[in-house]
Symmetry: C2
């Protein structure tokens, strides 16, 4: 390879750093596996999930890998595709601030599919996952805001590369093949934010998981040749300044992105950008007793651009409400808490619709973000004006579940316990996630034999 | 749907115009089918083709659709993937100036896979192909040069949308579902030119064929919801001025892109951008007898940017030579003609390498392109300076095979005859392509039963 080959440097850094992966990172990775499975189980009975499983089964394929919560096996690529979709279906899976999207629902389906074909040490599986998250996070923070703002869905565009890195590492591909795998993933990089609010958004996660795994498998097989310098080409097309930043691989392994800023685990199945609004509205309701009839207006205050993902101001269904600050705010002010059923296909009630009509979004350049804000620079203030002229406000900078305000392992266990199907013994599953030596027992459990 | 919904207008225009598809267009489409199959057969014994077929068979899948020239069946999506790769493998398949890429090797694999599951009228099959080419050509000419120059491979980025349009039309999807299919195709739009010169370039065609067919099948099934306004989002991300041009669907059906400017059929398995050089060098050699030893220097003159696809100036193998003006020029000046074996994995001979070292590319802003140039604005001049100070030049504006200098049907038949496997009776195949009423006989022949 040539000098200044960034793709080669990237791969070399991965292999150099991997033996140093810390216990803290591994412990976070276990949480990630647990939360991902809980998010899949929570979606297992959704009609569209069953539809896509049936659609895929019709294609045939060697039944190798479990489709989570579906009592069925498909080929490895199909399982990566379906589990990515299922994991992200409710928008209940983890997010990562630097990715500006969802790493685990792309990386883990690809890794689980691979582990279904080939038993591996569970520690190596977790290390591969950490490498995948690191890849997505580093590309995410260096590709810049332009990428997302131009219209790409980072979960998907960065996801295929992350999934390829994780699976290539899991297979310990020689460095040249690893670089080719990254290139085949990069050349499939796609996913448009115009699909937000439809079920193609979770499909993006499935497509990226499959594309990343396909890239690794093709590179491993050596069936065809491919470029080993594609990170360069990827940045030149998908980033604003068209260049791989010099520091892309610098310091790799000194600190892991899965630890800092870390994964953000969700307690409500909606877009994480709406979490600040939920927590602020909750605080407001706890601290003040406001009658709904007295509310004259509600301002929801963001830093400029802080609501980019919240594309719906007057959602027509609970599903659209996943991406609506107004909807979650109205639910909390009305009912005090928010649960999965609020995000189904039903129309919002008349009361909720009326309250949403009183809301407006306000953008402030002068309010300072808190130093511990997650993501950096973000906050949301909910400000209620009553008909009597009183004004009540509450603010959230780091919502519950985010890395600055993390969930306890117990709450994650609760999430899993609430959704795990009865065909899988909970304690055995938790033991597999926390203490297994190899991946086979976990895969066997997921097969729901 | 909303007013000014360009995606809906686009789909409506397709259905309004389809009954008017002309006999001339249908006749060109038959040539396209013939040439595509010839290009697939020419690649049938390539090692990498066999590798990718084996790789795909290992995944399993319901054996429904023929893999061309491979004596084997796979699932429909897998066949679309493999036949796209095979058709483009030698870069021997047709190109289209407005697409700035290869339409048939993406659209036909998707349509043939569909026809393998569901017999249809052959005329309807051809009409669907014409719709697919029209879609790619219209997006190609309106998305602007920026798209290609930024680094995308149009065959692939526009191909998934073209394949979705062709297959959605073949299935006569209701307009809303058709629009959703275009959206699922658009959100998978990918393929980077950084892979030119590797075997991932033909892989792009296979991926796009599969992605487009998958989009149509998901939309048809109604398994999940999707946006029906994604052409808007596609242009906002993938075009320089970020807007769907008002005239995207205007005049749809008055003239068909498959007729004008038409498909360009290839007689050499290399990049069409090198064809001008080949024809100019041939003319030079015919008109002047120049001894190789006498050559002091060779200038190859292009309009600025006219050699963008010719990424290799000193190819190390025949494969890389597919994208090299220097290589094809040296072959012609040395041997007088160029054949498939010149583009295999072998190293160029010492004589060819020496001659290439005497060459340089020159860019002219002052030389005027010819009015009949294909593509518009393109030309190549080969200028040989001898050691005695003589200068010989020859120029090509529209190479043999291009729409302004088309191949006869007889030459296309020769191409097919030269490559068809002995398991398929040539005359029966030609009859199917020229006169069939339904697709089933063609599919049966391709199954090589």
């Amino acid at each position: 390879m040539k000098e200044n080959n960034y793709t080669a440097q990237f791969v070399a850094a991965i292999y150099k750093s991997a033996p140093l992966i810390s216990e803290v990172a591994v412990s976070e990775a276990k949480k990630g596996v647990l939360d991902f499975l809980a998010s899949c189980f929570a979606a297992k009975d959704e009609k569209s999930v069953q539809n896509l499983v049936d659609f895929t089964l019709a294609e045939g394929g060697t039944p190798t890998a479990p489709v989570i919560g579906q009592h069925t096996l498909t080929s490895d690529l199909q399982a990566a595709f379906l589990n990515g979709f299922i994991g992200h279906y409710l928008d209940f899976d983890d997010v990562h601030a630097e990715v500006r999207g969802h790493p685990s629902t792309v990386i883990l389906p690809a890794l689980l599919a691979l582990a279904s074909c080939k038993n591996m040490s569970y520690r190596h599986f977790l290390n591969s996952y950490i490498i995948g998250v690191e890849t997505m996070a580093r590309i995410g923070r260096t590709i810049g805001a332009w990428h997302y703002e131009r219209g790409w869905h980072n979960t998907s565009t960065l996801g295929s590369i992350g999934a390829a890195a994780a699976t290539s590492f899991a297979l310990q591909l020689p460095q040249e093949k690893f670089a080719v795998a990254l290139g085949i993933a990069a050349t499939q990089s796609s996913g448009l934010r115009g699909q937000f609010g439809t079920e193609v958004k979770p499909l993006h996660a499935g497509l990226a998981a499959r594309n990343g795994l396909l890239a690794t498998k093709i590179a491993e097989s050596g069936a065809i040749s491919g470029s080993s310098t594609m990170l360069e080409n990827f940045y030149s097309v998908y980033s604003e300044n068209k260049k791989v930043p010099e520091d892309l691989a610098v310091g790799w392994g000194l600190e892991w992105s899965i630890v800092s800023p870390g994964l953000w685990f969700k307690i409500y199945p909606c877009c994480s950008a709406a979490y600040h609004t939920i927590d602020a509205a909750k605080k407001l309701r706890q601290n003040h007793s406001i009658s709904l009839d007295d509310i004259a207006a509600v301002n929801i205050v963001f830093p400029t651009g802080g609501d980019a993902a919240l594309i719906s101001t007057h959602p027509k269904t609970g599903e659209e409400g996943r991406f609506s600050a107004e909807y979650v705010c109205a639910i909390i002010l009305t009912e005090g808490k928010i649960t999965a059923h609020h995000f189904d296909a039903r129309e919002p009630s008349k009361k909720i619709k009326e309250l949403m009509r009183k809301m407006q979004r306000v953008y402030s350049k002068s309010i300072r973000p808190a130093p511990h804000a997650v993501p950096k620079g973000r906050f949301t203030i909910v400000e209620v004006e009553t008909k009597h002229g009183e004004v009540y406000t509450a603010r959230c900078d780091a919502p519950e579940g985010s890395s600055a305000n993390p969930l306890s392992v117990e709450r994650l266990h609760d999430k899993l316990a609430q959704h795990v199907p009865c065909s899988i013994p909970l304690q055995t599953l938790v033991d597999c996630i926390q203490k297994a030596e190899y991946t086979a027992p976990l895969i066997d459990l997921l097969k729901e034999k």
